[in-house]
Symmetry: C2
């Protein structure tokens, strides 16, 4: 079995590891209100998730890719943050280490290992979810959950019940067969992921997973932005994946619009919205939506890769740790 598939299946266990990491750090660290997040690739999409969670919980979060923070930060609105959260699975990515030196404020490293990052940081949230795969899968979800718990605790809210969240991800993984069948049945030649708010970075991560594992044409947009030009590429060879946390009539119209172009739509939500493919997810706190949707989009990328004869364990041209 591919290492990547094993990693995805470890999501429920990752949530428990995430909880342990949170419990190790919670006495030591209380997060401030104004936080700058940075990472590269998947870790940048994670940094966007964390910034969004920060804003939703009443703080002020912004996210920048490390290289933009290092080389072009005068173009971005950075509001005297009190903390930089730097994210890297390996903790050895050149750009993330550079980015930490940019502002002379406290630093928190979010990583899977004792590493240069964890040593350089004032605080380290080390989530013990090492992965054999080149691409990030269950560690991404675990990092998100661990930090989310710390954020809730810091902002005076009750942390989520990790056992319960772990069970939710176990339920989600039961859709593996459905996803494999979808991929077998419909040989789409491009895929567009859509999500709004906290689900937009999930759509971006889905786009990247598809590219890394299946070397495949994939796109991601904020839900309704897609109508403004981008949708021209969707036809009867296209799959559109809509991640929806609070469905209303525009979502149904959007499904119909894509169907009118010949595309097939997969909806991941509490309602089916007239789509060809549907994965029901439990009604959860919106900030938990990434946790229950990430394993689905990871499995979709994995099975598409296998279907296309790619080896998702060793993606073309990629390395596990990106250095300069």
């Amino acid at each position: 079995m591919h290492a990547t598939l094993k990693e995805i299946r470890k999501t429920p266990e990752g949530i428990l590891k995430a909880q342990e990491a949170f419990e190790r750090i919670k006495e030591e660290v209380t997060l401030p209100r104004n936080i700058l997040y940075t990472g590269c690739g998947s870790s940048h999409f994670l940094s966007q998730l964390l910034a969004m969670a920060t804003n939703a919980l009443g703080g002020k979060g912004i996210a920048l890719p490390c290289s933009e923070l290092v080389y072009s930060r005068n173009y971005y609105a950075i509001n005297s943050p009190e903390l930089i959260v730097a994210i890297s699975r390996s903790g050895e990515t050149t750009e993330v280490l550079k980015a930490m030196d940019v502002l002379n404020i406290k630093k928190l490293g979010l990583t899977a290992y004792e590493s240069t990052l964890s040593k350089k940081a004032d605080y380290a949230l080390i989530v013990d979810t090492p992965e054999d795969s080149v691409v990030m899968t269950h560690s991404f979800t675990a990092f998100y959950f661990s930090y989310l718990q710390l954020l809730r605790e810091s902002y005076g809210l009750q942390a989520f019940n990790a056992e319960e969240v772990s069970r939710l991800t176990r339920d989600v993984l039961k859709n593996e067969g459905y996803i494999r069948e979808l991929v077998d049945e419909f040989e789409f030649s491009n895929v567009i992921f859509l999500g709004s708010g906290i689900l937009y970075p999930v759509a971006l991560e889905a786009m990247l997973k598809m590219k890394e594992m299946a070397i495949f044409w994939s796109e991601a947009y904020p839900m309704f932005e897609v109508r403004h030009g981008f949708k021209s590429i969707a036809d009867d060879n296209s799959l559109v994946v809509m991640l929806v946390s609070d469905p209303f009539e525009w979502h149904e119209k959007l499904v119909q619009e894509f169907q009118g172009q010949g595309a097939k739509v997969m909806v991941i939500s509490e309602k089916e919205l007239g789509s060809e493919y549907y994965l029901q997810v439990a009604k959860v706190d919106e900030l938990l939506m990434p946790v229950v949707t990430l394993p689905i989009i990871q499995l979709l990328a994995y099975y598409k890769a296998v279907k296309r004869g790619m080896n998702p364990d060793s993606p073309r041209f990629l390395e596990k740790v990106v250095r300069w």
Copy 2:
């Protein structure tokens, strides 16, 4: 001749129209320091450019797509802006009109016509660059330049010399033959646009133009982010377009890295950086880089569309004004 090509060629004239619009409004409006920008599709990428220019000139600018501002704004860091700048070529886009009602602050409409948007706004910057084409081309550049002039004037800086900028775009358009030849000679099957800072939204706009006109696989990333997974899709069928305002060794390494994957690289910069294709642009103030690079990427999308047998004047599935 296609209307779209005519529109692109009108860029030098558009700059002069932009200057007139700026001169009409400059006595009436002084922009504040803290501004929220919003638009959809191309107009959202323009809103990102304007936010970046605002930050670079010492203000505080953030940009959100209209639909995210309307439906998911609690996830974004919006810092009590003093003004919303709402952008729409037609001034009739449903989402932009909705977005204007979201915050009870002053509104400036940036548009090509007397329209619902211009009437709804407290101030209107009407840049007289109507277009026969469905896709935005020279009006995009003109909108950017007109607002940039207003921003400079408002922040106590001297406005640029519009005649000179218009001449610069005339020089840039002389590369039309080179671009047509590139497209004829190299039948790339996907294209990645890269830019950092103020050139990142230009890369995004290039990606969208390619999609709208040529119905084609196109991508855009912040310059060095591309190494973090996304680059897996680049091979000997790929063109990578690098927009560079301040070249250093990492750019040269990146060119080599893509060449090592078999891709061909086109550099638009003051230095050639070892690329297969090279368009030299004049050394200008960095905030003018969008003005001198936009016509190039528009021509690239136009000629790719023609080469692929598409009609860029009537892109598949798209309408000139997007309504709900």
